[in-house]
Amino acid sequence: MSSAATRRRAQSPLGDASPDPFVPIHSVPVRHWGQMVTAAIIVVLFAALVYSLAENPNIAWEVVFENLTAADVLHGLVVTFQLTLVGMAIGLVLGVLLAIARLSNNRVLQSISAAYVWFFRGVPLLVQILIWGNFALLFPRLGLGIPFTDIMFFSVDTNVILTTFVAACVALGLHEAAYMAEVVRGGILGVDTGQAEAGVALGMTSAQCMRRIVLPQTMRIILPPTGNQLITLLKSSSLVSVIAGQDLMTAVTSIGATNYRVIELLLVATFWYLVIVSILSVGQRMLEKRASRGHQR
């Protein structure tokens, strides 16, 4: 377009020279009567629920409040937190290795990974916790020796190594790894194949491509399902109370068993589990923001 034409257009009354004044729109929004009615009904029902709990003669609220910060409960809270974090750490590391093994070209590794997931995902967590908690009944001593002979280099009492806490961590971690393996595998498959291909074309080995290019991009994809897993794991950790795992659930059930205030102590557990879940959810959101680096314009 010539400069003369540009000038002519710019000077025309419809052009930029005389922009229309900015007039905000005032319109009547659609009223959502159905929403308002259902909201009102729900508020009434919720108020009734709160009232029935608060005024319930069967709940001794003072017992709830004094046990919220009881020493055993707070200690149990710490143990629950530790079990969750250690279990997830084991699950994440082992899960990444299992996922890589599953997707490798090595048939032996593929089979091991598939068998692992089949077993640890297939056996109920409660059963796995009981097995690890009672491992000494199966193998009273653990040690290093030559298989199919009586030669032992050293051995120790199983209960010395596999304390209740360690057994609980192992049970939760190995079970979690089976699920995390599937989560990570999905994440790796979600990364565009062109990414690794570009690395290979530059002369990188497939291990380098995995470590430097694919896995870092997997993080962004697996964070939401991993957050889910973490919250599930936190709640599943209450199952270790069956081997007296000293966690929050162990604490509230043992207090409840002595003062016969079962419901009050379950309310204590409810409160604390919700608090930790809320904290984890906030942490997850912050991590997701950080991991989406390079994906924001």
């Binding site: 565009d192 290979v200 530059l202 990188m204 680096r293």
Partner: protein
């Protein structure tokens, strides 16, 4: 042709593909490709989609494994070691070594999304060639400068336009000091107004004496920059020769038909 080619002759070519076949199940994608590329030449490969152009390119750096035939790059047999008249598969490490000096530019750029432009370029020099970080940075900046992207070194790929991403991708391949550059439809995924900037970079590269094999639909580029033109259809080389000569006077009826369809 492959039988007559002496080992001595192969060393005169940057690339020598001899009787290359590739099948995906019952789909016979390459049906005996013979192609020689002289050092410093630009070879443009054109043809209808599905004719096997990209597959041939991907066989040269072994992103695809041919089912028959041999490919030599710089005199090296790609993918195998020949001892006592038998072929032994190269292990992954040796294969990676062969790929180091074959640069590749993809249709969809394939820049590492988790790295900035300069990190993309420094990655292979550091982790493949073993360069120091400062040396790699100098090389990366030189490569970025060459494609006119120095100002964007700290941008992530998704913050760049398609044309800019492709220029960074070219710089990434250049930083490994390649003897040969493969371009797989480098402008096909670009908006029309961005094609020119990428072709400009490729023109400069050709002028500097880089050996290039370019799979493309840009007939104008082939005519202007190409030394050799290869027309492929149905997994075969239908016609090849001097680029301007083939484009002006195509002899094969398929070539004539294709050029009539794509030329204005």
């Amino acid at each position: 042709m492959s039988a007559e080619l002496q080992a001595l002759d192969r060393r005169e070519f940057m690339v020598s593909a001899e009787g290359v076949h590739k099948q995906y199940g019952s789909n016979h994608v390459l049906r005996g490709i013979d192609l020689q590329v002289a050092p410093g030449d630009v070879t443009c490969v054109i043809g209808p989609s599905g004719s096997g152009k990209s597959t041939l390119l991907r066989c040269i750096n072994r992103l695809e494994v041919p089912d028959a035939g041999r490919i030599y790059v710089n005199g090296d047999l790609i993918g195998y070691q020949e001892r006592d008249g038998r072929l032994f598969d190269l292990n992954p490490r040796a294969l990676a070594k062969q790929r180091r000096h074959i640069g590749m530019v993809f249709q969809r750029f394939n820049l590492f999304q988790n790295m900035t432009a300069i990190q993309n370029i420094m990655e292979a020099p550091i982790h493949v060639a073993g360069a120091s970080k400062s040396d790699a940075r100098d090389r990366a900046r030189a490569a970025l400068d060459r494609v006119g992207m120095l100002d964007h070194q700290d941008h992530y790929p998704l913050q760049l336009s398609g044309g800019q991403q492709q220029r960074v991708a070219i710089a990434r391949a250049l930083a490994m000091d390649p003897a040969l550059m493969l371009f797989d439809e480098p402008t096909s995924a670009l908006d029309p107004e961005l094609v020119g900037e990428v072709l400009d970079v490729m023109r400069g590269l050709a002028a500097s004496g880089m050996t290039m094999i370019v799979v493309t639909h840009e007939i104008g580029f082939a005519r202007e920059v190409g030394d050799q033109l290869v027309f492929m259809a149905d997994g075969r080389v239908m016609e090849k020769g001097d680029a301007r000569e083939v484009l002006a006077h195509p002899e094969n009826p398929r070539t004539q038909q294709f050029l009539r369809a794509v030329l204005p």
